[in-house]
């Protein structure tokens, strides 16, 4: 299958005076519809890599292509639209908007896209909430839920616009093992059903082993890259 994400000689250096190189000339590509995991010690550069793929951060050198488009030449508006419709983020810390309810948070990417909320949109958001097991608390204010519930709401939100790519940074980092198992089952289902590409950072070897491919990052370089 064709690559939907392609990194060519990507380097990242932080700082002006004291320079810290985090990524070294990475060449990496992910196939459309694949389920990938990235592992590595903390500080290895895996989160930076994910943020660069997600267009939130810019590489110091090298090129990032999302679905054949070079993101470095995109205008700000086009980048925003790309993040809204092509990419879905699940962050390590849930990052919900506390001013809105759980369901409103899930609907937010759709609203940003500019769509009105009709019955079918509403139903879709409710189905997503149901899928992550939160139908009972869907109308709670976002900051009035447990950490795990917030994280699951964030997962539902990432799926709202049917993005082609889901980028997740330790999405189940603060969930118990049962919930973790459940969430991965769900994500896998979505991956198989709608050919969504997943790139998931995890430190949980058991989870990583369920992916189609494991990429290990060490000191800003690819240490290991195995496909099953």
């Amino acid at each position: 299958m064709a690559d939907i994400i392609k990194l060519e000689k990507v380097s990242k250096i932080y700082g002006d005076k004291i320079k810290t190189q985090v990524l070294f000339d990475l060449d990496l590509a992910f196939e459309r519809g694949s389920f990938n995991s990235i592992i590595g010690a903390s500080g290895s550069g895996k989160s930076t890599l994910l943020n660069i793929i997600g267009t939130l951060d810019k590489p110091t050198a090298g090129k990032v292509l999302i679905g054949d488009r070079d993101v470095s030449i995109l205008a700000k508006k086009q980048l925003a639209d790309l993040r809204n419709s092509t990419l879905g983020f699940i962050f390590q810390f849930h990052y919900l908007l506390p001013e809105f309810t759980a369901l409103e948070n899930v609907l937010m990417p759709h609203r940003i896209k500019g769509g009105g909320v009709d019955k079918s949109t509403f139903k879709k958001a409710e189905e997503l909430m149901d899928m992550v097991g939160l139908s009972k608390v869907k109308n709670n204010p976002a900051n009035n839920m447990s950490g795990g519930q917030q994280q699951r709401t964030a997962i539902a939100r990432a799926l709202m616009n049917n993005p082609e790519i889901i980028l997740a940074d330790e999405p189940t980092g603060n969930l118990d093992s049962d919930s973790t198992e459940n969430i991965y089952k769900n994500l896998r289902e979505i991956n198989e059903r709608s050919e969504t590409t997943f790139v998931i950072i995890t430190h949980d070897r058991r989870i990583a082993e369920k992916a189609d491919r494991i990429v290990e990052i060490k000191d800003g370089k690819i240490e290991m890259d195995v496909s099953r």
């Binding site: 989160s47 951060d57 993040r83 419709s85 962050f91 506390p98």
Partner: protein, 385 residues
């Protein structure tokens, strides 16, 4: 736009106490603005009314050589037709005379009026404290003159002119203009009586006018001057005659504007600093929204709309507060006789302007945070948690 509004409203609602504080801040600024503005306007109007409200604001008089205004009735008709800014116009036949009583002889000014017309300028009926308005052959005198000379109602008053003529007129009443120089010198009579006394024939010596906008008196006077274009006539207006009063009024206006400008500056600074802080508070949310793909324009519009909402509510509350303060002031700050110390004139245009400026100021103030939000990079939020 709708999304930006929804988010802005939700942000404001979420921090309700803070929102209330900002709205109150704006409202206090606006209320001070409205209150001070109305107070000073009321004060000015009061001052203008008491000083020039009951006197002619434009006067056409004959030069010494000409002595009388010829064809005055035509002149009045022409002025009436062409000057829409006038509120009253009246002719007068005036002349100096001596009031002879016992062994005394006091200089007085005899003023002959057409009372129907003069009423519009002098409100003479209100000023009458005893008796009635004079008919032909009758006069009224001021209270000071009455007390000084011991005049009484229906007594005959003996007047002598410079030309040596001496006539007697019946006193039909007494007036009080609350200005002692007038009360002790004016002897008011019917126009025909005055014309007869001074041998003016059918002519008059002056045409007096009041205008709707007192501060436009000089412009109207100029226009009348150009229209009449007669070297025998002198056209004067109150502004030229009362430079000191005018500079006093101007000083008041300027100080009022200064106060209002500083109030507005403090409101703008207040709003912009508080809104700038809210961007810091909301930077995490803005970062999340940007990561979800909200466009920069929509993100910064959130802050502009916040400014607008705060401004609108602040202005509404401020206008209500300002009016309330004004009403309280007129109700509780009273003269011994029960009338308000300063009568308020509710100037709706001014109130709307004050509110409008506050809304505009809030909007301008929110440009700073809006610009700041443009520069906000979501990665900073995501990397720093």
């Amino acid at each position: 736009m709708r999304l930006s509004f929804k988010i802005a409203a939700r942000f404001l609602k979420f921090n309700l106490a803070q929102t209330f504080l900002i709205v109150t801040g704006i409202a206090i600024g606006v209320s001070v603005q409205v209150f001070i503005g109305l107070l000073i306007q009321g004060l000015q109007q009061d001052l203008v009314n008491t000083t020039i409200g009951n006197s002619p604001q434009i006067t056409i008089s004959a030069t010494k050589e000409a002595a009388v205004i010829e064809n005055w009735e035509e002149a009045i008709d022409e002025i009436k037709e062409n000057e829409p800014g006038l509120s009253a116009i009246s002719a007068a036949a005036d002349g100096p005379a001596f009031l002879l009583k016992d062994d005394r002889s006091d200089p007085v000014i005899v003023r002959g009026w057409i009372f129907e017309d003069a009423e519009g300028i002098y409100s003479i009926e209100e000023k009458l404290v005893e008796g009635r308005l004079p008919k032909e052959g009758e006069v009224i005198a001021g209270l000071n003159l009455k007390d000084e000379l011991g005049l009484s109602l229906n007594e005959e008053m003996k007047l002598a002119t410079a030309s040596g003529r001496i006539e007697e007129y019946r006193i039909s009443g007494f007036y009080d203009f609350r200005v002692s120089s007038i009360n002790s010198s004016w002897v008011i009579t019917d126009i025909k009586t005055a014309q007869g006394l001074f041998d003016y024939g059918d002519e008059v010596t002056s045409i007096e006018m009041q205008v709707q906008d007192v501060f436009a008196a000089d412009i109207i006077a100029d226009s009348i001057n150009n229209r009449i274009d007669n070297e025998d006539l002198i056209i004067d207006n109150w502004k030229a005659q009362n430079q000191e009063l005018l500079s006093g009024l101007n000083g008041q206006s300027i100080s009022s504007i200064m106060i209002q400008v500083f109030v507005m500056i403090s409101v703008v600074l207040g709003i912009s600093s508080v809104l700038a802080i809210t961007v810091m508070q909301k930077s995490k949310e803005i970062g999340i929204l940007k990561a979800m793909g909200i466009r920069d324009g929509d993100a910064s519009r959130i802050f502009l709309l916040q400014g607008l909402i705060l401004g609108v509510f602040g202005a509404m509350l401020g206008v209500a507060l300002g009016l309330g303060l004004s009403v309280a002031f007129t109700t509780f700050a009273l003269n011994p006789d029960g009338t308000p110390v300063i009568a308020f004139y509710i100037n709706y245009g001014f109130i709307a302007l004050s509110g409008g400026i506050a809304i505009l100021a809030s909007l301008v103030a929110s440009f700073i945070p809006a610009r700041k939000s443009l520069k906000l990079n979501p990665i900073e939020v995501i990397r720093n948690g």
